[in-house]
């Protein structure tokens, strides 16, 4: 077991806790870079989708995991990003401009919806984002001249420095680069005063305010950043699916993103990756094992959403720290092997925080 002796305040602020981190994450990066040479196209495509989900998941983690706000319309920002990307590419913009433009437009939408609602309690935000998601998916359906409604919108194949971004491997590398960028931004946000302020707001809005934090402003900016990341993920999603349909950005997708956050582990960026792997690969695993399941279970309609619901409920009831929290406690068990104490990771009992007088 490695014991960290901190001798400098800057050690609290670094991204890497020690050189071991750097080594292991570097190794992971090498493996991920080499994977397209090792795995088949199908798996690379799926992993690309995992990366795209993870980008949107990082955005939602900043908002839900670190600021304590629930967004039930995250898929709407994904949709805005996806359609912006497709429309701008059709208009002949270069890909390196459409990506930030998609993120920016989603961020503007996020701030626009955030300003009026973020001053109220978090529950109102959950309801307002639910309504916002409904409105956006209706607009995508009905705004024929731009989105072509249910006929769908074909996404042109963009180029970066002459290389066409087509096929699973190209999307995989672009998504990987964007995921690393997103994680880097998020990790840096979390070690700045801005990130600390977000966590303070999550833990107690009243005490955050009394420390001089402009709660409404910080929440709005967090919402904008979160929406921008979703917009970026949407732009990549457009490349991934090649053909946009308005009904792919519905409440179910938003719930999938929330599942990423909760199952992965609220309040950890590593958790997003675990969550995205889980959420994206679970339906694939079901479809692979569909015929092996006993009886008729594998062929019941509506199996996937119900499993998401069930997993979400079980996670919140029995494993509130998610996969990453489970991994941490497992690691701790091995690290102090004979001396493990049962109560080390027990959930603290707390009283309901009232929002009333």
């Amino acid at each position: 077991m490695r014991t960290l002796f901190k001798t400098d305040y800057r050690q609290d602020l670094t991204i890497w806790r020690h050189r071991g981190d750097l080594f292991w994450y570097g190794l992971l990066l090498l493996i991920v870079l080499a994977l397209p040479h090792l795995l088949g196209v199908f798996y690379i495509g799926e992993l690309g989708a995992v990366f795209i989900y993870a980008i949107a998941g990082v955005g939602l983690m900043l908002l839900t995991g670190y600021t304590g706000l629930v967004n039930l319309g995250h898929a709407a920002f994904l949709g805005i990003g996806a359609y912006t990307n497709a429309v701008l590419l059709t208009a002949g913009w270069p890909y390196l401009l459409t990506l930030p433009a998609s993120a920016l437009l989603a961020a503007i939408a996020g701030v626009a919806i955030g300003i009026p609602t973020l001053r109220m309690s978090g529950l109102y935000l959950a309801i307002a984002t639910l309504a916002f998601g409904e409105i956006v998916s209706n607009v995508l359906e009905k705004w024929d001249s731009v989105t072509h409604g249910f006929n769908g919108l074909p996404v042109p194949i963009p180029e970066i420095f002459g290389y066409p971004i087509a096929g699973a491997t190209a999307v995989y590398y672009v998504a990987l680069a964007m995921l690393i960028l997103t994680l880097w931004i998020a990790a840096n946000i979390l070690r700045t005063p801005f990130g600390r302020a977000l966590m303070a707001i999550r833990d107690s809005e009243v005490s955050a305010r009394s420390m001089g934090i402009n709660v409404a402003l910080y929440k709005t900016v967090a919402f904008g950043v979160s929406a921008a990341m979703a917009g970026l993920a949407g732009a990549l999603f457009a490349q991934y699916v090649n053909y946009l349909a308005p009904n792919s950005f519905d409440v179910l997708l938003s719930v999938q993103f929330l599942t990423i956050v909760f199952v992965g582990g609220v309040g950890s960026l590593q958790g997003v990756i675990f969550g995205a792997l889980f959420v994206r690969l679970l339906p694939q695993a079901i479809s692979i094992f569909r015929d092996d399941l006993p009886g008729n279970i594998g062929h019941l309609p509506g199996l996937d959403p119900s499993l998401f619901g069930l997993i979400l409920v079980l996670t919140i009831l029995f494993q509130p720290t998610g996969i990453y929290g489970g991994w941490l406690s497992l690691k701790a068990w091995f690290q102090d092997f004979p001396l493990h104490r049962a109560g080390g990771f027990r959930r603290q009992r707390s009283y309901a925080k009232s929002e009333r007088v």
Partner: protein, 293 residues
């Protein structure tokens, strides 16, 4: 003249669907007032109530009235158990955990209903189906009238219950101040479970009232989103507000469907919801709540 008649017709139909939204919103508000939990599965509980009534009528051949009562009782018992078994465990956890829990429960209910009753819409004949009453040129459906009448009766019963019975007053006390109610010897936990039961029962009543107008199907629960708009418009936490909000939204929806281009009807409630949050976040029946530290 026909314009006036048509307008009147739209208003009555709107008020009828608005009563349904209001009843679902009433379910939210009861739970929210008492426990500060927002039940995102309320619409799906209503769906279960609808299927319960359908099963009693179609499978067991019960009389409509007995089946309606039976469905309400069964769903209320379900709500009670839901609180005892699941919801109670997460009290004290962050609010978003509770939101996610009820959302997940909604998905489970939908899937279970799909497995048990299938994904096709079902319906049954009620005493109000396809019957109309005529005043000159003005035609009213029994279905709309039954919804409005049923809502009025239900509200009267609830009003009497909350103001005239010991249990009802105890519920009000527990909603206003848990600790004080507990000190007065009120079993707060049981009371909260009973409030969940009432809320689920009201939703089941809404589903039964809705049956002559709309079929029962698995995705019926999405009406819950419109009920959110009703609750917010009425100022979350006000029971008359929830009903008035529901009726306003029902009428607005009908008018939008008639006077505005296609597509606006679907988003009317969402637009009203966002507009309420932006323009008058306290809702129509505002309760002045300022957080003190």
């Amino acid at each position: 003249m026909t314009d006036v008649l048509r307008l009147l017709q739209l208003i009555v139909n709107g008020a009828a669907s608005g009563c349904i939204y209001g009843l679902i919103a009433l379910g939210f508000v009861l739970i929210y007032k008492a426990t500060e939990v927002i039940n995102f599965a309320q619409g799906d509980i209503m769906m279960l109530g609808g299927f319960a009534a359908y099963s009693l009528v179609a499978w067991f051949g019960m009389n409509y009235w007995i089946a309606a009562l039976g469905a309400i009782v069964i769903t209320a018992a379900f709500g009670y158990l839901l609180d005892v078994i699941v919801i109670r465990r997460v009290i004290g956890q962050p609010q978003f955990a509770v939101v996610m829990l009820t959302l997940g429960l909604g998905f489970i209910f939908r899937a279970v209903a799909g497995i048990a009753w299938g994904y096709d819409s079902v319906g049954y004949v009620t005493p109000f189906t396809n019957r109309t009453v005529r005043f000159g040129h003005f035609v009213l459906g029994y279905d709309s009238l039954s919804i409005i009448g049923g809502t009025v009766v239900l509200c009267a019963v609830l009003y009497l219950f909350f103001n005239r019975t010991r249990l009802g007053v105890a519920m009000q006390a527990a909603s206003q101040n848990q600790l004080a109610a507990y000190y007065m010897g009120i079993p707060v936990r049981t009371i909260f479970s009973l409030i969940w039961a009432i809320s689920a029962g009201v939703s089941a009543a809404a589903a039964v009232l809705l049956t002559p107008v709309a079929m029962v199907d698995v995705n019926m629960g999405f009406l819950g989103i419109k009920a959110f708009a009703a609750a917010v418009l009425g100022g979350f936490g006000s029971i008359p507000g929830a009903l008035v909000g529901g009726i306003v939204i029902g009428i607005a929806e009908q008018l939008a469907g008639f006077y505005l281009p296609a597509g606006f009807q679907q988003v009317t409630s969402d637009v009203v919801l966002l507009a309420t949050l932006i323009l008058m976040p306290q809702g129509l029946f505002s309760q002045k709540i300022v957080k003190r530290v």
